[in-house]
């Protein structure tokens, strides 16, 4: 049983300038008092080609979390433009909102993000050779979050906890492998770029 259910995520300040911070207003419900903090993370996928360009925009601990419904705003700085491959700056990418308990990721919410120039001239006729980040607009496809849930060990088996916390390096491996499905999705949709832009 998942002790924490994400009820809703509202994407604030959207669409917005590329260099504005990300803001997610997250509502979640907790079924039983949690022993430990939740760890929320925003990951910006810099390039669909490689995980190497993933940027963790911010990580926050959320706690204490007693039983009940809670809400908070998770704000994170925009990605570092210098770390994004120039070819991937404009176009569709993904921002991931993840949450972990005891180092185990149990939910991953993926949003498509479209970055484009606000100025039609820059967009249509003469895209600049070097990206002009101050003129870029970011549009998160807030209406269509892709939610993936993972089974994790909530405090159900107290004797197992030690095992899990001690093998955190292993978990990291499995976490990265979880990226695969959404990456694959992303690739499909970005090659077929009409899908996302239509919905936008």
């Amino acid at each position: 049983m998942a002790k924490v259910q994400v009820m809703n995520v509202v994407v604030l300040d959207n669409p917005s300038a590329f260099l504005n911070p990300f803001q997610f207003e997250i509502t979640f419900e907790c079924l039983e008092d949690l022993q430990e903090d939740l760890e929320w993370r925003i990951i910006y996928v810099g390039s669909a080609e490689s995980e190497a360009f993933d940027q963790v925009l911010d990580t926050v601990y959320v706690g204490p979390v007693p039983q009940g419904r809670h809400m908070f705003v998770f704000q994170a700085d925009p990605p570092d433009p210098a770390k994004i491959p120039i070819a991937d700056v404009v176009g569709v990418t993904v921002v991931l909102l993840t949450c972990s308990y005891r180092g185990q990721e149990f939910i991953r919410v993926g949003y498509y993000v479209n970055n484009d120039y606000g100025d039609p001239e820059l967009r249509e006729t003469q895209p600049p050779s070097a990206p002009q980040f101050d003129k870029l607009q970011r549009n998160i496809l807030a209406t269509n979050p892709r939610v993936t849930r993972f089974k994790v060990d909530w405090d159900d088996n107290p004797n197992k906890h030690n095992k899990i916390s001690s093998s955190s390096s292993q978990l990291d491996v499995s976490t990265t492998s979880m990226d695969e499905p959404i990456k694959a999705n992303l690739l499909n949709s970005s090659t077929n770029d009409s899908i996302v832009s239509m919905e936008l």
Partner: protein, 990 residues
């Protein structure tokens, strides 16, 4: 009969009811394993497989019944979807009350749901799916106990128990009144248990398993009553479930999959001797589920003069068809072939008995409606219970816990008397509201409700305490019938406002995240999670203020594993009252103390508390220097007695008995001078006289008085020269010359038998009997009981003397002691920090004696009231708690005996008996009864080893009091009968 076959719906969106909100309609028809109609017929629940979890959906029933409502776009069809089960949900069952929905699934869990109304904040959508939850159902309790998939469940009549069965080969019976307490684990099956059903009168529970047996268990002792295997010998484990059912009149149990002559059947097992000579034949494949209509039906046929009563039963099978049978007919009432494209998995009748729903592996649900002419007229509830009474005898209480039959008429009488008495001290099992869920003790404030609070951890990450959204008070907890009027559907907003409504309060505190196994953060103790809950400011403080808060981080010194606390200086703006907290933890394996830092409350001048007269005050800088060498030597240092203002004191002396008027003792230090020094004046006035009037008597003392106690017989005055003066209250005469104390007095006490106790500053205690003129306790040291941990101080909270002259001391450590001169030892009478006491659930069993009567007669309660703080959490019913309760009560009894407190002994003895009775702890109960009964042979009167009385109570009289208590638990009625018979025999002999 009308089969509305076109109202087939699919759990993930429906064939006809396709939701256009969100646009993600899943056409995958995921199996629906279970269906149950709410008792009021307003809703029904389905359980099955979701996309990546188990799924429960609560649906509005009205659109299924009426096509007109179905076509009304404004009326929601789906009310709530819960994807909390990690794996497929195999069973959903509404409680009879309709307040709770139980769900069980492949994730081994059983969850109990109840409706809750949240304030508008927060989304009501099923996040990520675009569906809208019109209602909110929240999980009230999670039952963990099974080691495998939970396949079937059943609420017992009156919702007293919930039985769940699992692939772990067991059936677990849960106490539905005290979730998550387990009542019994029924072990015996050697294969997956796939169905469970209660006898409608609550005497049995039946289970059917893949081990080719059906077992019947008694609820009286949770033992197996019968195993039925013959009809199942040829069965293969080909069904997902084996949901059996018991007829509403209790006469027949109908099994799922059985075989007869090579064909699949549903075996009828008769209650009478568990005979198995009838079955329902006709399905071509295994029967998966049987469900009796909960109504007993009645119909007058022309050929019969009397209306005939019968039951109605629906059977679902892997052959995808559904049959409905009346027990009055030899042939099925109706068979619907090919209802689904896959196996039928569950059936449910509405409360009215005219509607039937079925669900299937093919992901759809079917609805069938009958008319009263077709099925018959249901008996009313009264008629039904009359029928039950006629068949199974009278059930004593509507409370389903008492499902035993009374075996002796005397016991019935006792119980009726008890019911009449309406004793305020009812056994706990009757005081509980019948359907209340356990109230987990929680702090009312769970977090800030108007903002989120951000702090930083030592590695610079943020830690956010989220805003708590309080649920609106539950509206009676019972879901309201979902009217056709329809409620407002909340709109899913993915608003793009630039700012959230949540106020973010940033604090510069350095906190440790409460996580384990993180990269560089260490677990801090769990209590910090609680204490970290920030104090909620009623006014949100503007973030700019934080810049004025100067904070320095505490850097953990990881290298040598020690904590170095750097100087922390903070200046807090005076207007902000925030509780600040710093806790750090370092280095693997070391738990560090939490450094708490809080601003002391701003005290104003008026805060000073007035000290009551004659209370010892901690010694100031003046005084005592010349009196005794207090500081030297080992031992204790207690604050000496000291008059409030150094001048004098007034003590009221109550009359004692009604004949003597109240008096007033006035002591005035340095009241008059003499040529050799100041004199202290002692005067006794009768009440009502002012200081100017003529005193009853007066006396002078040559040294200043430091404290005094008095009663109607004796005035005890301690002087600063470490002497104790005793004067008779009536006359002022001295029965004894002044007693010399080893050091100045710190505490004085006096009892009605003219016994005086003094505790000196050095921690020595003496008790004298003034009448007999001898010491009862000589300079006994308090050191053994007052040894403090280094760095802490133990103080005396109260000091008193029992009527027998035993000194009682209660300390700030939460312990209370009595000194026994006979044993030359201190006895522990109470220890509030004792885990035994803390986990004891005795409170529900102790009578309210102490509240109603003067505590003067209750020395133990009086003593313990000083030290026991707070109410221990009510036990969650583990066996250790029961043991703790018994142990604690026995300790209390011993303490009562030591104190010779008859009234309390009586009250605790009854409490213990009550508790043992409720827990059914027969052996211990017998020990008590045996002692009270004494030897039963004819020479009993001459027996030396057995006293006929205890603590001044006749043992037989006590036994007579206890026996009715035992009678309140029908499982113990044998004990009741046994002892009451013997008691009657003994009194006859006399």
């Amino acid at each position: 009969m009308e089969l509305i076959e076109d109202a087939v719906l699919i759990q993930n969106g429906t064939k006809r009811w396709r939701y256009d909100n969100g646009g993600s309609t899943h056409e995958m028809d995921l199996p629906i394993f279970s269906i149950d109609i709410h008792p009021d017929g307003s809703r029904f629940a389905t359980g099955g497989q979701g996309e990546d979890s188990g799924r429960i959906v609560i649906w509005n029933m009205a659109p299924v019944v009426s096509e007109k409502i179905e076509n009304d776009e404004n009326i929601p069809k789906m009310l709530c979807q819960m994807d909390n089960h990690l794996a497929c949900v195999n069973c959903v069952r509404w409680s009879f009350s309709g307040r709770f929905l139980a769900s069980g699934g492949d994730d081994k869990l059983v969850m109990i749901w109840k409706i809750s109304k949240y304030a508008s904040a927060g989304g009501n959508t099923v996040f990520g799916s675009g569906k809208v939850n019109v209602e909110t159902w929240r999980c009230a309790t999670t039952l963990r106990g099974h080691n495998g998939d939970v396949l079937d469940m059943a609420w017992s009549p009156h919702d007293a128990w919930l039985a769940t069965c699992s692939v772990d080969n067991t059936v677990i019976v849960w106490n539905a009144l005290k979730m998550p307490e387990m009542v019994a684990v029924l072990k015996g099956h050697s294969g997956l248990v796939k169905g469970v059903a209660w006898d409608p009168v609550g005497k049995y529970v039946a289970s059917q398993s893949d081990d080719k047996t059906l077992r019947i268990w008694r609820t009286a002792d949770w033992q197996q009553d019968a195993v039925i295997s013959e009809p199942f010998e040829e069965c293969g484990g080909t069904t997902h479930v084996l949901r059996l059912s018991w007829s509403p009149d209790g006469q027949y149990l109908v099994s799922a999959h059985a075989m007869n002559g090579g064909g699949p059947t549903a075996q009828i097992v008769e209650r009478e001797g568990w005979r198995q000579d009838k079955d329902f034949v006709g399905h071509r494949k295994a029967v998966t589920c049987v469900r009796f209509n909960s109504n007993i039906l009645q119909k007058s046929y022309k050929s019969w003069c009397k209306p005939q009563q019968y039951c109605c039963c629906a059977i679902g099978s892997r052959d995808r068809s559904l049959s409905v049978w009346l027990t009055a007919l030899k042939r099925p009432l109706v068979v619907i072939h090919e209802l689904f494209s896959n196996s039928v998995l569950d059936l449910s009748w509405s409360g009215s008995g005219l509607q039937l729903m079925a669900c299937s592996w093919d992901g759809s649900v079917a609805f069938v409606e009958f008319s009263e002419e077709e099925l018959g007229k249901p008996l009313t509830l009264d008629e039904k219970s009359t029928l039950h009474e006629r068949m199974y005898g009278k059930f004593l209480s509507p409370s389903a816990r008492q499902t035993c039959v009374v075996e002796t008429p005397e016991l019935l009488e006792v119980r009726e008397k008890q019911a009449e008495m309406k004793d305020p001290v009812v056994p706990a099992n009757q005081t509980e509201p019948a359907t209340e869920q356990p109230v987990t003790q929680r702090t009312p404030m769970k977090g800030p409700i108007n903002k989120q609070i951000e702090t930083r951890t030592s590695d610079g990450k943020r830690r956010i305490t989220p805003m708590f959204i309080p649920p609106a008070p539950d509206s009676g907890d019972v879901p309201q019938p979902f009217g056709a009027s329809g409620s407002q559907q909340p709109t899913f907003s993915s608003s793009s406002e630039t700012k959230s409504r949540i106020v973010i309060e940033k604090r510069d505190d350095i906190v440790t995240p409460n996580v384990s196994g993180g990269s560089n953060s260490r677990p801090c103790d769990t209590t910090s999670a609680v204490s970290a809950t920030p104090v909620v400011n009623s006014t949100s403080c503007p973030p700019t203020l934080n810049n004025q808060v100067l904070g320095q981080r505490i850097t953990p010194n990881i290298s040598d594993g020690r904590l170095e606390v750097q100087k922390v200086s903070r200046s807090v703006p005076p207007s902000v009252t925030t509780k600040r907290r710093i806790d750090t933890a370092v280095s693997v394996g070391t738990k560090l103390p939490v450094v708490k830092r809080s601003r002391p409350p701003v005290t104003s001048g008026s805060d000073k508390q007035l000290q009551p007269t004659s209370l010892p005050q901690s010694s100031g800088d003046e005084g005592l220097s010349g009196v005794g060498d207090v500081d030297s030597g080992p031992g204790l240092k207690l604050p000496p007695l000291r008059l409030q203002n150094g001048k004098g004191l007034v003590v009221r002396i109550s009359g004692g008995n009604g004949l003597v008027k109240s008096r007033r003792l006035e002591v005035e230090n340095r009241a008059c001078g003499s040529s050799f020094g100041p004199l202290t004046k002692v005067r006794v006035f009768s009440d009502g006289c002012s200081s100017g009037d003529m005193p009853q008597w007066e006396a002078v003392l040559g040294y200043p008085v430091s404290g005094s106690v008095a009663n109607s017989q004796l005035v005890v005055i301690a002087c600063e020269d470490a002497t104790l003066h005793l004067l008779q209250t009536d006359t002022g005469q001295r029965p004894l010359p002044p007693l010399v104390l080893s050091s100045p007095a710190s505490r004085l006490a006096l009892n009605a038998s003219q016994q005086v106790m003094a505790v000196t500053c050095r921690g020595n205690l003496s008790v004298w009997d003034v009448l007999k003129g001898k010491a009862l306790v000589r300079n006994e040291s308090l050191l053994p009981i007052m040894q403090a941990e280094p760095g802490s101080v133990v103080t005396i909270l109260s000091c008193s003397l029992t009527e027998e002259g035993h000194p009682l001391v209660s300390l700030s450590t939460g312990k209370a002691y009595m000194f026994s001169a006979e044993l030359s030892s201190w006895l522990v009478l109470a220890n509030s920090s004792d885990p035994v006491q803390r986990s004891s659930a005795h409170r529900a069993f102790v009578s309210t004696l102490s509240a109603s009567q003067n505590t003067g007669g209750l020395p133990l309660a009086c003593l313990q009231s000083h030290i026991i703080s707070g109410v221990s959490l009510l036990g969650q019913g583990s066996s250790a708690n029961a043991l703790c309760t018994v142990t604690f009560m026995e300790q209390q009894l011993a303490a009562c005996r030591a104190l010779n407190s008859k009234q309390e002994f009586h009250s605790w003895l009854l409490a213990l008996a009550r508790f043992l009775t409720q827990e059914g702890l027969e052996t211990r109960l017998r020990l008590i009864c045996d002692d009270l009964l004494g030897p039963t042979h004819s020479h009993a009167k001459h027996s030396k080893s057995w006293d006929t009385s205890v603590m001044g109570f006749s043992k037989h009289a006590l036994l007579r009091e206890i026996l009715p208590l035992i009678g309140s638990n029908l499982h113990l009625q044998r004990i009741y009968t046994e002892y009451s018979d013997q008691l009657a025999m003994l009194s006859e002999e006399k």
